[in-house]
């Protein structure tokens, strides 16, 4: 199942089986936001605790498929403890990674020979900063699953906005 292994890379399955930063935080002091994927009924809740311009703690709760759970797990692991500026950069990079050539994904013409997005936006994506999250590029071959991968992120953005507003 070569195609499947491109989507379900080992690191994704690892985060799915052993999700990091799983749990809840008390609100307040934490802020939280809920996200839904109307397509599949997935629900995710993201909790953020911000202090002195730093994202001290992130927790993720809810239910979802392997792609949405692992993406949220990798997200939390990547951003916890980072400055809000760094968190913002990671969000922008990941969102860019997931949105490249969205319009042309239907016929896969935006993908290079490896089935990965051949796009100038790649230049703006710092793979080291994204770490394990780069594994989610395989999702781009399956347009219906992109929303699964981004659910945790759009929810994080809302939880963060509330935290920043309260700072």
């Amino acid at each position: 199942m070569a195609g499947l292994e491109d989507l379900y890379k080992e690191v994704i399955l690892d985060h799915y089986r052993n999700p990091r930063c799983r749990g809840e935080l008390s609100v307040p002091p934490a802020t939280m936001a809920e996200g839904f994927n109307p397509l599949c009924g997935d629900e995710v809740t993201v909790y953020c605790e911000v202090a002195d311009g730093r994202l001290d703690k992130v927790r993720v709760a809810g239910q979802g498929c392997s792609i949405s759970l692992s993406s949220a797990s990798m997200m939390a692991e990547t951003i916890e403890g980072r400055s809000l500026e760094e968190v913002h950069d990671v969000i922008v990079m990941f969102t860019t990674l997931m949105s490249v050539h969205e319009a042309s994904l239907g016929d896969a013409s935006g993908l290079d020979a490896d089935g990965l997005p051949a796009d100038e936006a790649d230049g703006r994506v710092d793979e080291r900063a994204l770490g394990d999250l780069v594994a989610l590029r395989g999702v781009l071959r399956y347009p219906r699953r992109i929303k699964c991968a981004t659910l945790g992120w759009t929810t994080l953005t809302r939880a963060l906005a509330e935290a920043v507003a309260g700072e």
Binding site: M1, L4, C40, G41, E43, C65, S66, I67, R145, C148
Partner: protein
């Protein structure tokens, strides 16, 4: 086209004889034979249906009820022939009671809009069930918000059957009972005849969402005793873009039109209009004419098989599926809905090994097996069941035991893939 005889006492349907009429089933996906198990969402279309549409469009196509030239007459005759075939297929006493719509959703909206706005107000109630498709919930919620009427729901029990213990209370003061003939998630077949009788006894009308029944079993509206039924052609071997509303003449006659435009009028002056007679009163604008021809061809195919045989075939596959999946996977699989093959339509929604339905569906696709994953447009029901989503396999005339076995094999591979 396959040669299959009609039989009063149904003989087994040999799906392998039919498969040749469905070229898509000979396709390969990811190197595997396509095993199409998503007919509850939409059925495949056999060559006789596609051929009839193509042949009509190539030789006899024109707008209907407009021109007096030969081809326009032929097109009109073909369109009205589809109406008569539909009426015959569902046992409607009069073809004028068959209204063509875009799909079943539009048919239900037509009732809510036209009958509902005229007949419902504060103090009135509509009764639906917890197992309805969104198409039979949201139009009533919209109506309730607009008209101030109340919306009540019949609950389901732990085995996915309607809990009718409170039926009399729920129907007290109700003006309409709207219920699905068969759950598109659970496969539960409801006794809509008894429900229609209960509704009438309480002074209410009964609308039946027949999307999952008309394609899969004999349905006779006169026997059923309902007041309205709605279904879509695309779930019964026919094309997308055409659905059917059947209603009793006196009710349809008393209802105001739904959409305004051409065809639905008898006369238009600058200061007003008079409406056309049934059924055209509800068919504003140019209708799906080629699709109507396709619907008649689909009915011909189904009548050629015989609806009793279609039903018997699906019960046989139910037995095979419930037996195979439960034997093979035991506690790892939970098939929702009633446990008895006879109580179900050809639908099996299941939870499997704590693997998310999206992931199941993705791996099954790798094996060529097409199933639906998600909430199946029945989110209130999913909440009742306490789950976010299920995977759903559904079968039809062109499926056989080998397709169910392919599903079981692919599920075993899925479990292996996701297990540490």
């Amino acid at each position: 086209m396959s040669t299959v005889q009609t039989a009063a006492e149904p003989t087994d349907l040999d799906a392998s004889l039919l498969k040749a009429d469905y070229p898509i089933l000979a396709r390969k996906v990811h190197g595997n034979r396509v095993v199409y198990l998503d007919s509850a969402a939409s059925s495949q279309k056999p060559d006789p249906v596609l051929d009839a549409m193509r042949s009509f469009a190539r030789t006899s196509y024109a707008n209907v009820h407009r021109g007096v030239y030969t081809i326009a007459e032929e097109a009109t005759a073909a369109y009205e022939s589809a109406r008569r075939a539909t009426a015959r297929f569902i046992g409607a006493p009069d073809p004028r009671e068959v209204i063509f719509t875009r799909n079943a959703t539009e048919a239900i909206n037509l009732i809510a809009h036209s009958w509902g706005r005229t007949n419902l107000g504060p103090g009135d109630a509509v009764v639906a069930t917890e197992m309805e498709h969104h198409a039979n919930i949201v139009p009533w919620q919209m109506l309730a918000a607009e008209r101030g009427c109340e919306l009540r729901f019949i609950a389901i029990d732990s085995q996915g059957r309607l809990d009718l213990g409170d039926l009399d209370t729920l129907l007290d003061g109700a003006k309409l009972l709207t219920v699905t003939a068969e759950s598109n998630v659970l496969g539960t077949i409801n006794d809509v005849g008894a429900l229609a009788a209960a509704a009438h006894a309480a002074g209410a009308l009964c609308l039946v969402d027949a999307c999952q029944s008309v394609p899969h079993m004999p349905v006779d509206v006169t026997e059923l005793g309902a007041d309205f039924i709605a279904f879509s052609a695309h779930k019964m071997l026919g094309p997308t873009g055409i659905g059917v509303l059947w209603g009793r003449t006196e009710l349809l006659d008393a209802m105001p039109p739904f959409l305004g435009g051409g065809e639905m009028i008898a006369d238009v002056r600058l200061d007003g209009f008079t409406v056309n007679e049934l059924p055209w009163k509800f068919e504003a604008g140019t209708m799906p004419i080629i699709e109507a021809v396709g619907l008649e061809a689909a009915i011909d195919v189904l009548e050629g098989i015989g609806m009793a045989r279609v039903r018997a075939h699906e019960v046989r596959l139910n037995r095979h599926a419930l037996g195979t999946l439960n034997d093979r996977f035991g506690d790892k699989i939970r098939i929702w809905g009633p446990p008895d093959a006879e109580e179900r339509g050809g639908i099996a929604s299941f939870s499997f090994d704590d693997i998310h339905p999206h992931d199941i569906s993705q791996v099954l696709d790798e094996h060529g097996v097409c199933v639906r994953a998600g909430h199946h447009c029945a989110k209130p029901l999913m909440r009742c069941l306490g789950i976010g989503a299920t995977a759903r396999a559904s079968w039809y005339v062109y499926n056989d035991e080998a397709d169910i076995d392919a599903l079981a094999d692919a599920l075993a591979a899925t479990a292996e893939f996701f297990t540490v």
